[in-house]
Every structure is written in C-alpha cells, then in structure tokens.
C-alpha cells in the first residue's frame, strides 16, 4: 500500500541534498512508526553522518552517542527500557567501519534491537570518501583510481558477515522505484515486528543513492543502484526467524 500524506511526525523540511535516499527512508520509517502506532514508544539512536539529520525533520525522541557506537547504545537502551523500541538509522561507515565491533557484538548477543543501515557505498557527509562498502574499482574521493583489493581488501557485505549468526532478521532492500519503496516499507515494518515479538537482532540494509558524491543526477543514481550496486549487493531477506 502506498501512503499518500506526510506522516505527522515529519515536522520540517529535511536538510539532505537533492535526490538523497535518506529523505526517502526517513519518510518510510515515519510512516511505519505511525501505522504501528509506536511513535511515542520509539527512541532512535542516531549515528553521526548524513543519517543523523533525521533529527531536524522528525519528531521522535533520540539520543546521539559517538559515531558508530549504536550497537552499544541500543543494547543499553533496550535493557533499561524494554518497553521502548530501540532502533538506529545509521550509515555504512558507522555500522560497518568505525562501529563494526559494537554492531557485531550486539548481533552476536542477539540484542533485541533494530539497525537500519543506509548503504550508499561512500562517506557522504565528509565528501564521498571510500567506505567499507565501496565496490572494487569504485572511484571515490579517497580512491581516485578505483578501490583496489590490494590496498583496501574486499568490500564489506553484511550478508556474508552476519549470515551465520543466530539473529532474528537480516534483509537488504533499495528505494530505486515505487515498488522497491513499498517493499522497503514492508521490510522495515517486519524488522520492528521482530523487535516487538522479542525475537532479537534485526538489520535491514537499504541501498540508497548519493547523487552529490556519485556525481550523477538522482534518476541516474537510481539506475546505477539497479544496474550496478544491487548486482554487487543482492537484495532479499536472508535471515527470518
């Protein structure tokens, strides 16, 4: 079902660049929180980076620990307030690079928390540097001749890394067209339902465009995700317990 009106909690214009995937995702999350009627039961743990700008357009209580430490902060959130939803909107750099230890520790403990990881294959806020998710050969502002395996190793694929863990839910989706937006909304809801039902750790990775740092128009960026990025990072539901 496609929603048709801005959710009430989206109180201001967002600060993202034109065509940014974060804007689409934040609205999707706003819709899901509203439809599940859990806005007042939600405390978002922010990452640092473009993602943290949800604070400036969404009215949801939130906390902001240091960059990448969502796995630790969410653990504490859920333990002291099990009646509240503990979730993060974060970046691939936060979740998979600087915060990989905390993310994995929360997952291995199967903490009853939810990660929404915006994977745009670069560090967006700082100017498009190489991220763990940058693909082999991808040029970024810190891999000018393309990411090489020799220098930087293989790109990080959360499905390969978390695939064997005893967690509740692991999925990857995108927002490249209305059908994928609808699908993403469904998976976002499913992840939060896992938390509601005390199933444990859930993570939904969303392939989002960064037209600014990719040097593409927004429609080109969406096409790039469909034709290139999602070939590298397969979409689907990988763990569903």
């Amino acid at each position: 079902m496609v929603s048709r009106k801005a959710p009430e909690l989206m109180y201001a214009e967002n600060r993202f660049c034109a065509g940014c995937g974060h804007g689409i995702f934040d609205r999707i999350l706003g819709e899901v929180l509203t439809e599940m009627d859990i806005v007042s039961d939600t405390i978002i743990c922010s990452d640092i980076g473009c993602n943290h700008q949800f604070q400036f357009c969404m009215r949801v209580d939130a906390i902001v620990p240091p960059h990448g430490k969502m796995g630790a902060a969410l653990t504490a959130q859920k333990r002291v307030r099990p009646d509240k939803y503990a979730l993060t909107i974060c970046g691939d750099g936060g979740a998979y690079a600087i915060g990989l230890g905390e993310t994995m520790a929360a997952a291995t403990r199967n903490e009853n928390v939810t990660f929404f990881v915006m994977n745009n294959t670069v560090y967006g806020m700082t100017g498009g540097q190489m991220a763990p998710t940058s693909m082999i050969g991808q040029t970024t502002s810190s891999s000018k001749s393309g990411r090489s395996v020799e220098d930087s190793g293989e790109n990080f694929d959360v499905v390969k890394v978390m695939g064997g863990l005893n967690i509740a839910y692991l999925a990857r989706t995108s927002v490249t067209n209305p059908a994928n937006v609808a699908k993403t909304k469904k998976l976002v809801r499913k992840a939060l339902e896992k938390q509601r039902d005390n199933k444990g750790f859930s993570l939904v990775e969303v392939l989002v465009p960064c037209p600014t740092n990719w040097g593409m128009s927004a429609p080109q960026s969406m096409k790039h995700i469909d034709e290139v990025v999602s070939k590298q990072y397969e979409l689907g539901e990988f763990i569903d317990r």
């Binding site: 048709r4 801005a6 214009e13 993202f16 034109a18 995937g21 804007g23 209305p178």
Partner: protein
C-alpha cells in the same frame, strides 16, 4: 478538484518524481522557488493518484488528496 497537492517550496529539483510518473502527468513548471529550483507541476487530468511521486520524493513535496 485537484488530485495532488504540490508543495513547490520544498522541491530541491531531483526530479525523481518525473522519472517515476508512468502517466506522464508531471513536468517542469517553469517557476523557480526560493531555493532557486525549477519546480514540478501536475497535469491533474492525467493523474491517476497512484502515489508514485509521493513515494519517490525525498522531500515530501507531494500529497495525494
């Protein structure tokens, strides 16, 4: 009666809406908002209220009425 409300002042000009409107109901308006962005206008006759513009817009420009 209008089928879609366009909050032109919010538009940043990514035009994901135009790219995803299968009815061809969206086009550039020729008007510029305070951001200096040329905004989008809806042909209300062609619109079937599918909601694709709403779904794809990162900036909540559209409301299906």
């Amino acid at each position: 009666m209008d089928k879609v409300r366009v909050r032109e002042e919010r538009c940043k000009g990514c035009y994901l809406c135009i790219a995803n409107c299968k009815q061809g109901a969206l086009s550039l308006s020729g008007r510029t908002n305070d951001r200096g962005v040329i905004t989008v206008t809806v042909d209300q006759d062609k619109c079937i209220q599918c909601g694709c513009c709403y779904a794809m817009c990162p900036d909540l420009v559209y409301e299906i009425l």
